[in-house]
Symmetry: C2
Subunit: 338 residues, 2 copies
DNA sequence: ATCCATACTGCAATCGATTGCAATAACGAA
DNA sequence: TTCGTTATTGCAATCGATTGCAGTATGGAT
């Protein structure tokens, strides 16, 4: 393995000069710079990131922390997660950062101590802010650069990037209403930040349509298809004669509910229309295809990264909620005449 | 930030002794050790991993590289991926390693140089060995510790952990045969290592059943539901009068195919039975529920980690293929009397 | 009393870069 | 000719640990 010292010797300059030359520091004579660079190239020299880290106190690494739901032990809508993770990875690579991944199921290490103080990472990206998390709040009182994917409260003490969950949900439910639905259930756990917004959007839509809210129609449901299936069987079947629409806080839940309904002989969408949220890969390929709200994963990932880097540059970064897109498919395609 | 020097001073010993004491080196007097440890605890001292890395030339970090399919730009069956990634993360954490994640879409950096030589990682886990990959072969000629998730050729020059794809596929197809299917199509891209095994299993089953192989029944299909849908429409519809079974190399493909068939008015499973591979979350919740082959993600992840650590300890690690489990569901539940 | 093995402890070098500051050379101005 | 600039370069300290080797003290054996 070549070291800077070797390169310096080969170029017949001091290590200091070699170091500067490699980073194209203009204080070094141009010819010298070129010579050093050329030699480094020739011998395939790369600076040792560990040594550099130790000296500069920067790691050029970002830690991405994926929070899991304490109850379901499941990440907030898996497929969505993998997508955004991919985007983040690409963006970070592109900016010259490595990505340290941590899936935090239990409340484990203290992030600041472990990642920042120990110089394992220069900043944090936290995905899946679930129920109100103590640790995130705590971070915001420190000087740790970090961004969160989730829901903005409007007056966050930290930078949040997320989807316009509320208006997206409103659009979906309004669409159900436009399809003639008058009794629409909500499936999801509104104690979860993002879901809460979707729940509010659901209410918004009902209110706008002059439809009454009905507590019986609000089912606290985990993120899984399984729970969507169960809760539908247990709590929705009795309401069936009246019920004519379901808005599920995630596609997984929606698909679970749809399964239960189909087994029970309910016609979707004729008797009951369904809409979900996320647009997971399967949504377009189930029967009937699922109407859903698609999040902008790509811009989400990019924004997370750029806002984090902004913070690391000492600038401030505002929270931002991205527009979503309603995809209407068969699961909500009812005749108007109800 | 506390440094080892601070702790040493507080404990009134030299840095050397402090360093040894913290690692419980028995050469240090027990009382001294305890004293140092106690003080370190009290002041919440943690060794700086960067400094340690520089000195010991180990990073206590493993790089996980996810290979994407060059064509579909998609990872080998996403949902499966996230699961195994989670397991690996947990295992590594448990063993005191950090996890550097890299999603390599393009042929980017030279892994050995970037991760190993630069001491960014002590070992590599490569997931998604797709079509024969030059880079993996190359790695095996170096002394880099690494393991691969994928298919074993039986005479690998490196350590592979994977599923018993061949026998799993055979079980699935034999099951279709037992359900009365006589004309079974295969959907998948057998140029991909793992899929090739599933393809062979498909052939095994047909052969055992005394059924003829038919090139028309073998459709090269990408990993996506979309391609499953398209290829089914384009190439399977003409064969429909005869065709009575499909074995898809992944659940995504199977669901795409099922969608196409249902739209076309084909009764699943009565007219045509379907089986997939992976058991993604949605498989149990589509209609009809999908018969599939479940991989042992948990043991897979654990094995990958343990075999890698074994290698890093200088031991050799054998390849290993894990048993899979056939889950029979409605999509293949036909009456026997055909 | 002398010597040696044993048990600890600490000095100083080392890992591989980066950087503040001093040193040198070269050049034009006075 | 002398002196202040400017342009370049290098010395040496530093980041925070780990470790080979040497040094000291203690106790037991002779």
């Amino acid at each position: 393995m070549m070291t800077l010292a070797d390169i310096a010797a080969l170029a017949e300059v001091s290590e200091s000069t070699a170091s500067r030359a490699l980073r194209d520091n203009p204080v070094v004579n141009k010819e010298t710079r070129l010579k050093v660079q050329q030699i480094a190239q020739q011998y395939q020299f790369n600076v040792n990131p560990t040594a550099r880290s130790l000296r500069t106190q920067k790691s050029y690494t970002i830690a991405v922390i994926i929070l899991f739901d304490a109850k379901s032990q499941q990440a907030i809508s898996d497929p969505f997660l993998l997508e955004i993770l991919g985007v983040i990875a690409d963006e970070l690579t592109h900016k010259g950062y490595d990505m340290l991944l941590s899936t935090s199921k239990t409340k484990d290490k203290d992030w600041k101590t472990y990642y920042i103080d120990a110089k394992r990472a220069d900043g944090l990206i936290i995905i899946g802010q679930g129920e109100h998390d103590q640790r995130i709040e705590q971070l915001s009182h420190s000087k740790v650069p970090f961004v969160v994917w989730g829901a903005s409260s409007g007056h966050d003490s930290f930078t949040v990037v997320g989807s316009q969950n509320r208006s997206g949900a409103e659009a979906a439910v309004s669409h159900l209403v436009a399809q003639g639905c008058k009794h629409i259930a909500f499936l999801g756990d509104y104690r979860h930040n993002e879901i809460e917004q979707r729940y509010l959007g659901y209410q918004d839509a009902l209110q706008k349509a002059g439809l009454a809210l009905n507590a019986d129609y609000e089912l606290i449901t985990d993120f899984t298809a399984q729970d969507g299936y169960l809760k539908t069987q247990q709590q929705l079947f009795p309401l069936l004669p009246e019920l004519d629409g379901i808005f599920a806080a995630s596609d997984a839940i929606a698909l679970g509910a749809m399964k239960a309904l189909q087994e029970h002989g309910v016609q979707v969408p004729q008797q009951l229309a369904i809409a979900g949220f996320d647009d997971i890969a399967m949504s377009a390929y189930c029967s009937p295809a699922l109407t859903t709200v698609k999040q902008d994963t790509i811009n989400g990932g990019k924004l997370l990264v750029s806002k984090l880097l902004q913070q690391m540059d000492g600038e401030q970064a505002e929270s931002e909620l991205l527009p979503v897109r309603l995809l209407t498919r068969q699961s909500s395609a009812r005749d108007r005449r109800v």
